[in-house]
């Protein structure tokens, strides 16, 4: 009994949803196999989408035609803009979403796709014919034939959950682990490693003393991820703040020997950027308190997510810990925190399309590649889905998008011992890669794929045209230094004026904003988003030009192709270790090679010289 598909997606998390949606929308007959249909698109950890650098990923994905951004917008119950005081270029968006609505809207959207079939079942084995993938076998014996299989199994491969000394098999509370598939992958020769992650306790909403807690400010209710026409917003809620204290820290310190990470029960390394409370307290003994956010899981949900309190301590310690925190004295834990330990597949085995280099047809995307985060998973799913369906590598350059940085880091450098999370510091061209210009960077690519609808595209074209018009206006409008103008400039702390300058020049001044300049000169109206673009473009013009220059220089390294296959043994003077790394990593360009860990600039020069020499002797 066998069914045939163009693409089979294994797993219904954030990577799986984007992969299946992209593949089916590009015309591929697609199957999505999930352990439980009801768990499609779940938010296993915190009820939020976006965040620093992650907000960039969501906006980029939206510009390309992915779904995470618009579904998050439709489920948003609180929206914030982060880094607003660090300069316009590095702002990120973060949305609190309704943990029930997000998955159900994702499932609804998937259900509307003509070429997508959603199947419930456990994939137990990959089917291989010759040297390439031919499909998957399910636990009940069914076989799904397909030349392309996208694995998006998240933390489910050989997963073990820990809490105190209690261990349970499973990748998430209420879900089983995928042991048979993990064995199948090892049997096929995939290099795997072990990682861990953790989650926080959830509290009963009515057990928290809300009136004694501080409300988190700085929300930005009009904010959205998607570039599509805005839809009505759900009612908005508030999050609250509280802090740990010395007594709680002491309790944790006393109990460290009962935390599985400390007793050595967990071998996988955890993320340094999202440390457990155990980690925070032992690494920073001088801190007498740590900030916690109390985030409602939804409009009608009675659960509260305690952001900042990831732990795998035994349940009774978690109970005492919570009751020691201000405002939580009466709080009830409805689900305790736990740690998950799971297998990941080394992503350096993959090409830039996330296809396995030794097993054509097999794609891996999401947490299974050793990343963390819904957003990182979703963009990988999209890249794998588009590449699998189109048969071409969907490649975004590092200088074009955070998702390009993410994929390139994964396949050239790997995850380096802890789950990989996106940071703005990982993007060397980050002044070019802003959330606000994600559409200008990437929407033409999404449109070319056919994943951007006419209405959204028309909106984009109008916006680009308006930005150009407003910028031209700013360049053409002159301000003359009359006494009245000078008085108003000085009142607005925008400096003085000695000779006539253009509105563009004025906007370049650090203290000037589009609001003040447009008001001062009484210029015709534009959408705020349009004028914001003009201001950012002008203010960062010099820096952006320099960054663009650097990006072009980097591109030169990228354009030096390395032949495949290549015999690295012909190159003398390289250490065995470096040579082995090259053999394993198979960099396609000198740029990729230069980013491999342990490759010194001297080695890059030597290799460049050698490659050029090779090429000339071959000719």
């Amino acid at each position: 009994m066998s069914q045939r598909y163009d693409v089979v997606v294994v797993g219904g998390g954030h990577a799986g949803c984007e992969a299946a949606a992209a593949a089916a929308r590009l015309g591929a007959q697609t199957a999505l196999v999930t352990l439980r249909r009801a768990h499609i698109g779940r938010l296993s950890c915190n009820p939020a989408i976006g965040g620093l650098a992650k907000g960039h990923l969501v906006r980029e994905l939206d510009a390309l035609g992915g779904w995470m951004g618009r579904i998050a917008d439709a489920s948003t119950i609180q929206f914030r803009r982060l880094n607003t005081r660090k300069g316009l270029a590095v702002q990120s968006s973060r949305a609190q979403v309704d943990i029930e609505l997000y998955p159900s809207r994702m499932a609804e959207a998937l259900a509307g796709l003509e070429r997508l079939e959603i199947l419930e079942g456990e994939v137990s084995e990959l089917q291989v014919l010759g040297d390439r993938i031919s499909g998957v076998r399910l636990g009940d014996g069914r076989i799904l034939s397909s030349p392309k299989v996208i694995l998006t199994t998240g933390t489910f491969l050989a997963a073990v959950m820990h809490r105190g000394d209690a261990r349970t098999s499973g990748g998430r509370i209420g879900d089983v682990a995928a042991h048979a598939l993990a064995r199948s992958l090892v049997g096929l020769g995939l290099r795997t490693g072990r990682l861990k992650t953790g989650t926080v306790p959830r509290l009963a909403r009515d057990s928290v003393s809300w009136d004694r807690l501080e409300v988190q400010g700085d929300t930005f209710p009009e904010g959205r991820f998607s570039f599509a026409p805005p839809r009505p917003r759900l009612p908005q809620i508030a999050c609250h703040l509280t802090y740990t204290n010395a007594a709680v820290h002491e309790l944790i310190r006393q109990s460290l020997h009962r935390s599985p990470m400390w007793t050595g029960a967990i071998v996988g390394r955890g993320p340094r950027y999202c440390p457990s409370i155990e980690d925070k307290i032992s690494r920073f003994p001088d801190r007498d308190r740590h900030l916690l956010f109390l985030e409602p899981e939804g409009l009608s949900s009675d659960r509260i997510y305690v952001n900042g309190l990831s732990t795998s301590l035994p349940t009774e310690i978690q109970d005492r810990m919570i009751r020691g925190i201000a405002g939580l004295e009466e709080a009830r834990i409805v689900q305790h925190g736990y740690a998950v330990e799971y297998d990941f597949s080394d992503p350096t085995q993959l090409g830039h399309d996330l296809q396995h280099q030794d097993l054509p047809g097999l794609f891996l995307a999401g947490q299974v590649n050793g990343t963390s985060g819904y957003e990182e998973a979703a963009v990988q799913g999209f890249v794998a889905g588009v590449s699998a369906a189109s048969g071409e590598v969907f490649h975004v350059e590092r200088s074009r998008g955070y998702l390009g940085v993410l994929i390139d880091d994964l396949v050239t450098r790997g995850v380096g011992g802890e789950p990989y999370r996106m940071f703005t510091s990982r993007a060397e061209h980050r002044l070019l890669l802003r959330e606000d210009n994600a559409d200008r960077r990437l929407m033409p690519r999404g449109r070319a794929l056919g994943l951007i609808d006419d209405v959204t595209w028309a909106r984009f074209e109008a916006r680009v045209e308006a930005i150009e018009r407003a910028a031209a206006l700013a360049r053409a409008t002159t301000i003359t230094p009359t006494a009245a103008v000078i008085r108003r400039l000085e009142a607005l702390e925008m400096g003085s004026l000695r000779k006539p300058i253009t509105a563009a020049d004025l906007l370049r001044r650090p203290q000037a904003s589009w609001r003040t300049v447009w008001q001062l000169l009484d210029l015709p109206g534009f959408e705020p988003e349009v004028l914001e673009q003009v201001e950012i473009d002008l203010k960062y013009e010099g820096y952006v030009a320099r960054a663009a220059q650097r990006a072009r220089e980097a591109q030169r390294l990228e354009s030096l192709q390395i032949p495949d296959p290549i015999d690295w043994h012909g190159l003398q003077g390289l250490s065995t270790e470096v040579r082995e790394r090259l053999v394993r990593a198979r960099p396609a360009t000198l740029g990729q090679l230069s980013r491999l860990p342990g490759i010194t600039p001297a080695a890059v020069h030597a290799i460049a010289a050698w490659l050029i020499q090779q090429r000339s002797t071959q000719r």
């Binding site: 660090k86 300069g87 999202c274 900030l291 952001n307 703005t424 510091s425 650090p510 003077g573 010194t600």
Partner: protein, 443 residues
């Protein structure tokens, strides 16, 4: 593969011995056609052997050869050193024989370049080797030796560390805005930035001293006609090289001679004196002198003791024109005039030799080579990179309050890259590691 290259490692000329070196990935086909061990058995790696060298016309000398196997050689590739008798005829014939056997004549510096490319030598040490070979003074030799010990890398390490920590601080502000408690204030950041910039500038400022220690200094005598420049020149050189006469305008051409001033090898230039002239030849000489003194390291501005009127006016013009140059002013001819030297000028007499020792010391001091601690770099590449890093730190300090953290962090990343280009280091994960070590970061 590196094709075999060959070159004489010792200078052209007659000597007891001369050395010819070959390097490449497969030397056997070349060696088999130019040398054979005098006893039976092939050349073994690492063991010196008595050999005969030959070409198509037969054996033409004997000597010693040692073959070393890459990659643990000076070049990172196989390396053979052949010692023969020091006659250019023999050396020439041996190099020719190697070329006939398939080797290529090495370009200047190619052996060292191979060493750098194969990772056997970092760039700073390669430059130090060059300095050891080029040094014209004991100080230059010392500087080259110091370079080989890696002292420059040691001096750069704390500057780099400072930049890494500053970048980590800025990155933390961008990626973990919730963790405000651990962040330093802006004033402290700006202080640290200016310290790093100053550190880079200090190292860069040693460049002139370092360069003159290695390559020697060029010093020119300038001044009005008949001030006694040529007499001083002859005194400093230690022999009458320049024509001296009482009539003004005797020197027309630029005269050049080598001499030692203290520990420093110096090329001294005597130039035509300045005055209003209608003689086209004298005017041309003056123009030539003005062009030549553009790139000398120090000027000796010679004032004539007791000069008056027109000469004083010319002298004032010379002083004004050279005000921003490194210079030593002398007041020459104190033996025959009772005039008062202007403040800062050294009274000298070319006739009696009075004040000449003071002049030599002033020249050394003006080049900064008395202060040995700062003279650590001798290459323009090193100086330019250090200045570039200093500018990046200064621009970051400017950008921080105005253009924001991301721009400042970007500039500092450029700075770190500059230092890494300088030393050839590669530790790109440093910034993230520093972030994680210092900050308790949440989601």
């Amino acid at each position: 593969m590196a094709a075999p290259i060959v070159a004489a490692a010792t200078p052209w000329g007659r000597s007891a011995l001369a050395v010819v070196r070959l390097t490449g990935d497969d030397l056997a086909p070349v060696l088999d056609r130019i040398l054979r061990p005098m006893r039976r058995g092939p050349l073994e790696a690492g063991r010196p052997r008595r050999i005969e060298v030959f070409d198509d016309d037969g054996v033409f000398d004997d000597g010693v050869a040692i073959l070393l196997r890459g990659p643990h050689t000076a070049t990172g590739h196989d390396l053979c050193e052949i010692t023969v008798h020091g006659n250019p005829l023999i050396v020439h014939r041996l190099v020719d024989a190697a070329v006939a056997a398939g080797a290529r004549v090495a370009q200047p510096g190619e052996f060292t370049r191979l060493a750098v490319l194969s990772g056997r030598l970092d760039l700073l040490r390669a430059e130090a080797i060059d300095q050891v070979i080029r040094a014209t003074s004991p100080g230059g030799l010392r500087l080259g030796r110091l370079g080989l010990t890696g002292i420059l890398s040691e001096r750069i390490a704390p500057l780099r560390q400072g930049l890494v920590e500053l970048t980590a601080e800025l990155e933390a502000r961008l990626d973990y805005p919730g963790d405000e408690l651990a962040l330093a204030d802006d004033a402290a950041l700006l202080t640290q930035l200016s310290e790093v910039a100053a550190g880079c500038r200090r190292l860069a400022s040693g460049h002139t001293a370092g360069r003159v220690l290695v390559d020697g200094a060029r010093i020119a005598l300038v001044g009005a006609v008949n001030a006694g420049k040529s007499s001083l020149f002859n005194r400093l050189v230690g022999q009458p090289r320049a024509l001296v006469h009482d009539s003004p305008g005797t020197t027309r051409d630029v005269v050049e001679a080598r001499c030692w001033i203290g520990p420093l090898q110096v090329t001294l230039l005597d130039t035509a004196g300045e005055r209003q002239t209608s003689d086209p030849i004298e005017a041309a000489g003056l123009a030539l002198a003005l062009a030549l003194i553009e790139d000398v390291d120090v000027l000796i501005v010679v004032l004539r003791a007791g000069a008056g009127g027109a000469t004083r006016a010319v002298e004032e013009a010379v002083l004004a024109r050279t005000a921003d140059r490194r210079r030593v002013i002398v007041y020459n001819g104190v033996d025959r005039s009772s005039g008062e030297p202007p403040p800062g000028a050294i009274p000298t007499s070319a006739l009696t030799g009075a004040g000449l020792q003071d002049l030599r010391e002033a020249l050394i001091a003006s080049l900064g080579i008395g202060d040995r601690a700062d003279a650590l770099i001798a290459s323009a590449r090193q100086r330019d990179l250090l200045l570039q890093v200093a500018r990046a730190a200064e621009e970051a300090a400017e950008a921080l309050p105005l253009a924001g953290v991301a721009v400042a962090a970007d500039l500092l990343t450029d700075g770190i890259a500059g230092l890494d280009t300088l030393t050839g280091a590669d530790t790109r994960e440093d910034v993230l590691d520093a972030v994680f070590a210092r900050f308790c970061v949440g989601k």
